[in-house]
């Protein structure tokens, strides 16, 4: 009997030792791969130990902050967004549930104090000691008061759309509005599955046919190439033929003989189609590239939330440079051309800037927990889109668009507003994408902007231009 008792003990002992073996596997062998798993809530809880830096607007409104709480006997910090949906897409979220997006994602190293520099190394020692790591505070260029006006304009119309205002001299993002919006404090879970895509930052991820606003690009290309001057004469028929299809002016209007400048001010499609045909695909695409089309803008924002503008095939992929396109239709902003509101604001900023493309910059400065300034971004020029002379010519013409052309509704008393309207056909009857892009003042501009409203019956001049006027009034009221 004793031998059998011994055998049984050996069997059970092997079983118990197998438990130690398997525990060793999890704690030593599989540990690092388990730690990296997305579904491991411990990762997120660990991040909660960091006093993540606040995000505030240039006018001192707190957009994101960390509030202390307790978790399993330790102090943790929960993210709170006091302004809810005000700039939800730009600021993004840092969430246990959904991870991170927007500036919360791209500025994460600074917000969590885990940058590669000396401060980051000191913080990693604090983390090892169990001390609370405090992240840096980020002050945005965003103007919360003007952002609020932009959001109110869009939401009061009940439309999907976007407003982008840049400071053309620094690239600073003064306004970046996108509707519909959501409350990142409470509405994130619902927003993830909302068919209206409130998480989408329409300013950087929304692709829309730019319509007549693109005539600024065509005009820059044609003026630079010497294909036209502002005084070049055109016949102005109601329709021409392009690619086997009629290409007509808005409402089939016939203008009669006019010069090129007049065609821009009054947005004459047949003239721009003709100019596009004379320019040819290579020259037009080269100018587009200069404006930033066909590639992502490199800026302090998650790349996957910054879509490049360009010409896309039916399955949504950008078509290659030499693929056959209907150039005259691209020249008037149609065909398969799609652009983000940020791209079109950059087009306007380039005209205001004497032809230079400036990198979008969301950050005014980054402050360490002790209040000292860690980083203050300086303007980054990404290249030249047109000559200074062409830019000056276009500034004059775009001012006339507001003074006497299609953009009258954008006028603001005491401010020289220059711009270009756009009413892009979406292919759905009675549904247009209404645009207005431009800058103000017309010379030495402080604001360059693009407004887009999705799926409305009205034109850019009717729907988008008044939004510009309201936002500009808010911005100038604040500075004067």
């Amino acid at each position: 009997m004793n031998r059998r008792i011994g055998n049984l003990f050996i069997v059970l002992a092997v079983g118990l030792l197998a438990l130690i073996g398997m525990t060793t596997y999890w704690q030593v062998w599989a540990r690092s791969s388990l730690e990296a798993r997305q579904a491991n809530v411990r990762l997120v809880y660990r991040d909660l130990a960091i006093d993540r830096g606040a995000i505030v607007s240039s006018d001192g409104v707190t957009l994101a902050e960390s509030k202390p709480g307790t978790l399993d006997g330790r102090t943790v910090y929960y993210r709170h967004y006091p302004t809810a949906g005000l700039a939800a897409q730009l600021v993004g979220y840092s969430s246990l549930l959904a991870g991170r997006a927007g500036l919360e994602r791209s500025l994460d190293p600074e917000l969590t104090g885990s940058t590669g520099d000396l401060a980051g190394v000191v913080n990693s020692f604090d983390r090892m000691k169990g001390d609370t790591v405090r992240g840096d505070q980020v002050v945005l260029r965003l103007n919360a008061a003007a952002q609020k006006v932009a959001m109110e304009q869009l939401t009061s119309l009940g439309v999907r759309g976007s407003v982008v205002v840049l400071d053309p001299s620094s690239g600073g993002i003064l306004v970046m509005a996108s509707t519909p919006t959501y409350d990142p404090n409470t509405g994130l879970e619902k927003a993830l599955s909302d068919p209206g895509s409130p998480l989408l930052n329409r300013a950087t991820q929304g692709l829309y046919p730019p319509g007549s606003t693109f005539k600024v690009v065509t005009a820059a290309s044609a003026l630079d190439a010497g294909v036209v001057t502002p005084d070049t004469k055109f016949p102005g028929p109601a329709c021409i033929n392009s690619g086997g299809q009629p290409l007509c002016n808005y409402h089939g209007h016939a203008y009669g003989p006019h010069n090129f400048g007049y065609a821009l001010i009054h947005s004459i499609n047949t003239t721009f189609a003709k100019v596009g045909a004379e320019l040819g695909q290579d020259k037009l695409e080269a100018t587009m590239r200069g404006f930033g089309f066909f590639s992502r803008f490199p800026w302090d924002y998650p790349p996957e939330q910054t879509l490049p503008s360009g010409i896309f095939n039916r399955s949504g992929n950008m078509i290659s440079a030499n693929a056959p396109i209907d150039v005259p239709r691209v020249a008037i902003g149609q065909e398969r051309l799609l652009a983000t509101p940020l791209q079109m604001a950059e087009v306007a900023a380039a005209v205001a800037n004497g032809g230079q493309i400036i990198q979008p910059e969301p950050v005014q400065e980054v402050r360490a927990p002790d209040g000292s300034v860690v980083r203050r971004p300086s303007p980054v020029y990404l290249g030249r889109a047109m000559t200074t002379e062409t830019a000056a010519t276009l500034r004059g013409l775009m001012k006339q668009v507001v003074d006497e052309g299609t953009g009258g509704a954008a006028a603001v008393a005491g401010l020289d507003v220059a711009g270009k309207t756009g009413t892009a056909e979406t292919g759905r009857a009675g549904k247009n994408d209404a645009w207005f892009i431009g800058f103000a003042p017309a010379e030495a501009s402080r604001y360059a902007f693009a407004v887009l409203v999705e799926d409305v019956a009205g034109t850019g001049g009717d729907v988008a231009a008044p939004i510009v006027a309201a936002v500009l009034r808010a911005l100038t009221a604040l500075t004067t």
Binding site: G6, L8, L16, A18, T23, T24, Q27, G73
Partner: protein, 437 residues
């Protein structure tokens, strides 16, 4: 090895006392560590609790010293360390639960003292074998008929405000019954009376009770909705049958029978099926019913690493104050230990069980009557295999089940039943050692 030899030269009860002293040091240090890690200011309540704990074990030791002077000196200190580790981790999860557990440990020690006084002469228990068998059946029937489902399995009955897990006690009664029954019948069971296909089998009337146990285990699997309990009962029975008869064929046949029966029974018990899904494919859908507990358990264990986070310093509770792993204080206490004490501590806990099993089997080999041998081996098997099944479940070696970790898990039934086992082992060893001395 001189110090060891010195230690082994100590009288047995002094050995026990010094080891209990060591266990109390661990207890006090553990409570202090949790207190320092979690509270802003020092509170004396956990030290008062540690003092109570110390007092209770010293009383138990004194009773052993006077009633069972020659009993095994290691069993009681091992239970002291295990209950201390459990109590510290439960205190770390929730102070109120720890207070309850402390009371259960006191009641458990009282039962321990009651057992060693009542069954000082273990032969007295042998006469009660059929009573024990009948009582085991009654308890299990009560569980099935009156039982409430907790976490999917039907292992609990409610009496007044108390939740009782009768299976823990039925397990001991079953071992007592089997020890008495097998000692009585082992000759006829071992000696086949007829041959079937060249294999000797015992007469049906002798093997009938065993077939009943096999069938009953499968019924329990379906009725209790828990693979672990029925497997535990069945393995205990098979192990004791093997010791009594030495016939591996019984074990093989019985094992095969159970595997087939279980495979069929699982088809009609969705809860067990879910557990098996979670065992085979836990990463497929981590948030789902099947897999949340087991994956969180594995994350918790892995997070501990080799040295662990330290008592009270792991991440066990969620923002709502509950445990991240549901049922962390009962089924998943091993995961919490592995997190805070690391591989070193978790392995030490397993080795303590191995040591306890070794003492149990050693008591079985030194005992000189069949009943004592079978009883000690059966009880040691019950503890060791229960540890294997529940820890195997939380580390994904086996499908997850609703068993408790003996002496460590939160729960009155589990704690008191295991103290009864410890008491019985000491009674057996007293008789074995006294005859030897």
């Amino acid at each position: 090895m001189t110090p060891d030899r010195g230690f082994l030269r100590l009288p047995m009860r002094n050995r026990e006392l010094s080891l209990i002293g060591l266990a109390l040091l661990i207890t006090t240090a553990g409570f202090a560590a949790v207190q320092l890690a979690r509270a802003q200011e020092f509170a004396s309540s956990p030290l008062i609790a540690a003092a109570f704990f110390a007092g209770a074990y010293l009383v138990a030791h004194l009773v052993v010293r006077f009633t069972l002077p020659d009993a095994d000196p290691y069993v009681l200190p091992i239970t002291a360390v295990l209950t201390a580790i459990g109590l510290i981790e439960i205190y770390r999860i929730d102070a109120t639960l720890a207070r309850d557990q402390g009371i259960w440990i006191l009641i458990g020690l009282a039962l321990f003292i009651g057992v060693i006084i009542a069954f000082r002469d273990i032969r007295r228990l042998e006469t009660l074998r059929y009573t024990c068998g009948a009582l085991a059946v009654v308890l299990l029937l009560a569980t099935i008929t009156l039982g409430a489902q907790v976490n999917g399995a039907r292992l609990w009955i409610r009496i007044g405000g108390l939740q009782i897990q009768p299976g823990e006690f039925a397990k001991i009664l079953l071992v007592i019954f089997l020890a008495g029954y097998l000692r009585e019948r082992r000759e006829v069971l071992a000696a086949p009376t007829r041959k079937l296909l060249g294999v000797g089998i015992p007469a049906l009337r002798h093997s009938l009770p065993l077939l009943i146990i096999a069938g009953a285990s499968l019924v329990l699997l379906v009725a209790m909705n828990d693979l672990g309990s029925s497997l535990l009962f069945y393995v205990i029975a098979l192990a004791m049958l093997y010791i009594a008869t030495g016939r591996l064929l019984f074990v093989a046949l019985g094992g095969g029978l159970f595997a087939l029966g279980a495979a069929a029974a699982v088809q009609i018990t969705p809860h067990v099926q879910t557990r098996i899904d979670g065992w085979l494919h836990p990463w497929a859908n981590e948030q789902a019913q099947c897999c949340y507990q087991i994956t969180q358990s594995i994350y918790t264990i892995a997070d501990g690493g080799v040295l662990g986070a330290g008592f009270g310093r792991g991440l066990i509770l969620n923002s709502a104050g509950g445990t991240i792993i549901p049922f962390a204080q009962t089924d998943f206490i091993y995961s919490v230990i592995a997190n805070e004490m690391g591989l070193v501590g978790a392995a030490a806990v397993i080795l303590l069980y191995l040591l306890l099993a070794w003492r149990g089997f050693r008591i079985a080999t030194t005992a000189d009557d069949g009943f004592s041998k079978l009883l000690a081996a059966g009880l040691a098997t019950a503890v060791a295999f229960q540890v294997f099944v529940i820890v195997g479940g939380v580390i994904r070696l086996l499908p997850l089940t609703g068993l408790t970790l003996p002496f460590v898990s939160y729960g009155g039934s589990s704690v008191t039943a295991n103290f009864a086992i410890a008491g019985l082992l000491l009674c057996i060893s007293q008789r074995a050692n006294r005859e030897r001395v």
